[in-house]
């Protein structure tokens, strides 16, 4: 996959990692029917960390991050987000979901609402923010992703890159402390990828905790402070990006890296 197509200077100094734990996953297992899709996952994410998850298709990357905001249910082990344990307790789920933003591969904007409405919907109904305030926040984030002028259009009228940026803005409007990205650029054309990655880098610079499933290795190298490699539902290797790319330990990782960096 191509290197990150950004020409700006990335300011790694701002990306501070505190040592407060944001997400803690302990011995987590998940099955789809009788298919063991996540096996004994252990993962600690500190606040401000930027983690990239990579791995071959079907290795359970999406499933893992979907478990974190309970879009999928895990069957054993614990997931603790920001001190709250994810259980079947609806209140906990609500609490966690409003602190974890999620950004999908296919954006999943609401086509019947304008961009602005997309961004204000959840703050108004979930956070009970006054409309005015919600709209101001929304405009703030839309400016941040550089499309304030599209606020009154409908998603169908935007390009893919713009839509993905709206999706990010929409999550940000809930002021989450953690952002999950599931292959946010893989449905986009090369030019648009750049737009979206730029936005993500900016977020990283502001110290947002991020978990990102992506194969943009340039992004991983420059932004992440940890890369996790998954295979067959397990975390096979994790390391700092430099180490990970230059000096992979496991055979599986080597094979994978040779493939995706090779061509």
């Amino acid at each position: 996959m191509s290197e990150l197509m950004t020409d700006r200077q990335i300011d790694r100094s701002k990306m501070q990692v505190s040592d407060e734990v944001a997400i803690e996953i302990r011995n987590m297992n998940k099955w789809y029917g009788s298919f063991h899709v996540l096996r004994d996952i252990n993962l600690n994410v500190n606040e401000g960390e930027r983690i990239v998850i990579a791995g071959p298709s079907g290795s359970g990357k999406s499933t893992l991050i979907r478990c974190i905001n309970r879009l999928e249910e895990h069957q054993s082990g614990d997931i603790i987000v920001d001190g709250t344990e994810l259980s079947s307790d609806l209140k906990n789920i609500d609490k966690i979901r409003s602190e974890v933003g999620m950004c999908f591969q296919h954006f999943n904007l609401f086509p019947h609402l304008t961009i602005l409405e997309n961004c204000t919907l959840a703050p108004i109904w979930v956070r009970k923010t006054p409309r005015k305030e919600a709209e101001e926040t929304a405009m703030h984030f839309l400016e941040k992703v550089k499309i304030p002028e599209q606020a009154d259009k409908y998603p169908g009228q935007l390009s893919g890159g713009q839509q993905q940026r709206v999706a990010i803005a929409r999550s940000l409007c809930m002021k989450p402390r953690i952002m999950l990205f599931d292959e946010p650029t893989s449905a986009l054309d090369p030019e648009m990828i750049k737009e979206v990655l730029d936005t993500m880098i900016e977020l990283a610079e502001e110290g947002m905790t991020m978990l990102c499933v992506t194969h943009e290795m340039g992004f991983a190298r420059q932004v992440a402070n940890r890369v996790i490699f998954m295979d067959q539902g397990q975390i096979v290797e994790q390391n700092e990006p430099e180490e990970f790319f230059n000096n992979p330990k496991s055979e599986r990782t080597k094979l994978f890296l040779s493939q995706i960096l090779g061509h």
Binding site: N29, H36, R39, R226, I235, V236, E237, Q238, N239, S250
Partner: protein
């Protein structure tokens, strides 16, 4: 962050999921008792199903099959179970099922004494509707399924002429000569075009068959019949009834409405204002009134609209009206198919120099119709169900027959058994077809 670096040394094996989430227990947990509301719903549903089945099954299966009248049925019930309620008297179906299926279609050749004497049971003429039905399946098979050998298309082409002959009987020359009309049109076009030009050829290709059908078919067919007589006994359409009638009306209506519907759809799509207005007017008119009013027209008005002295029987009139009715719906189905075709197909045809009709016939219609098949099947189901309305104007379709049967002194007072049987047959037919159209829809989805 010293804990950052991690390498898994040995891969974990695939484990069995916790017991509660698989197997029957897991399934039941996930699908039936997932939360309080769901559990309550499940229990209520189970109780409901139990009561319905209990009543229905005992009524259906603890029943009387052999009796010659309702009274006898009741006697048997009283003797067996001590009460007459809660038990079906299927004897009426046993007694009348042939009638419900074929109406009054003679079980023997319609003109007794021709070859078979007065012996009514000798040579069941039921084979004629049966054969028509089997041939129908053969005729539509190549249209509906890709895998069927293309040769069967011959059956499809012959069927429209063969079916009326089988059903109504008479000399074979009538249908043959009617089919010959198409041959005449074709020949006229082929032979006359070089002589009198394309336009003349087209006019001749339309006019000659029409003249042939209107004035000559009868004479020629009669002539041929007197020379080489090939005929089977005639059956008046009055004798048609029961499910045979429903199927006949449905099949004829769909068969005839297809070409009309195509023409209407093309007219509705065209940019010729008047043609378009006429087509839209017709379609919206037909779709705007209930079928029953059209049947009223068939039964009380059609004769008024036609030249004085025109006589043709009620079944034909109903066939005409139901055909018109189906055409309007068919036109909308075909229009959907046309709309689904990319514009490039029209342009591709144009750029090759195909003219309008060639383009329609060779490029547009084959594709549009294929897309429309699910819609056509649904229309057919609708029309088939709607054939029950003919009972209101006194035709003896299954519902009409149920009235007639209940008017027989032997079965006066019977009720549920008849309707259950009729509903069951309709269900089997329609359900089968709707499944088929779903299968088609799925296939179409995959194909694109």
């Amino acid at each position: 962050m010293s804990d950052v670096s991690f390498v898994r040394t040995e891969m974990l094996p695939q484990q069995e999921p916790p017991g509660s989430s698989v197997g029957i227990v897991g399934w039941a947990r996930a699908n039936l008792f997932d939360g309080v509301t769901n559990s309550v719903l499940t229990i209520i549903s189970l109780i409901l199903v139990y009561f319905v089945l209990e009543g229905l099954l005992s009524w259906t299966f603890q029943s009387v099959w052999n009796a010659s009248s309702l009274t006898e049925c009741r006697e048997i019930m009283t003797a067996t179970w001590g009460k007459t309620h809660g038990h079906a008297c299927w004897a009426v179906i046993n007694d009348r099922w042939l009638q419900l299926l074929y109406g009054f279609y003679p079980p023997y050749p319609a003109e007794p004494g021709v070859n078979f004497g007065e012996n009514t049971g000798a040579w069941p003429a039921y084979f004629r509707p049966n054969l028509s039905f089997v041939l129908l399946l053969l005729a539509v098979a190549p249209v509906l399924f890709d895998k069927v050998p293309r040769k069967l298309l011959i059956v499809t082409a012959v069927y429209p002429f063969l079916m009326p002959w089988l059903m109504w009987g008479g000399s074979i020359w009538g249908p043959v000569m009617a089919a010959a009309g198409f041959g005449i049109g074709f020949l006229a076009y082929r032979l006359l075009t070089p002589v009198i030009g394309g336009l003349g050829g087209i006019i001749a290709a339309i006019a000659l068959p029409v003249i042939w059908w209107l004035f000559l078919v009868g004479i020629v067919a009669a002539g041929l019949e007197s020379v080489v007589s090939i005929s089977i006994p005639e059956v008046e359409s009055r004798k048609f009834g029961g499910f045979m009638l429903s199927i006949l009306i449905g099949v004829v209506a769909i068969g005839c409405s297809l070409p009309i519907g195509i023409v209407l759809a093309l007219g509705r799509q065209s940019d010729l204002m008047i043609v378009k207005t006429l087509c839209v007017g017709f379609i919206e008119f037909i779709r705007g009134v209930p079928l029953i009013t059209l049947l009223f027209v068939a039964s009380v008005l059609l004769n008024v609209f036609l030249p004085p002295g025109t006589q043709f029987d009620i079944i034909l009139r109903v066939l005409i009206m139901v055909t018109l009715f189906a055409s309007a719906y068919m036109a909308e189905v075909v229009r959907g198919g046309l709309a689904a075709l990319p514009k490039g197909q029209y342009e591709g045809a144009d750029s090759l120099g195909l003219n309008y009709w060639q383009a329609q016939r060779l490029i547009i219609m084959p594709q549009a119709l294929k897309i429309s098949i699910p819609g056509i099947v649904s229309t057919f189901i609708g029309v088939f169900k709607d054939t029950t309305l003919v009972s209101i104007i006194g035709l003896l379709d299954p519902l009409g027959l149920s009235n007639a049967i209940r008017a027989d002194a032997a079965w006066n007072g019977i009720y549920w058994e008849l309707f259950a049987f009729i509903a069951f047959l309709f269900f089997v037919f329609c359900f089968g077809m709707s499944r088929y159209s779903m299968y088609l829809e799925r296939k179409l989805h995959k194909g694109h």
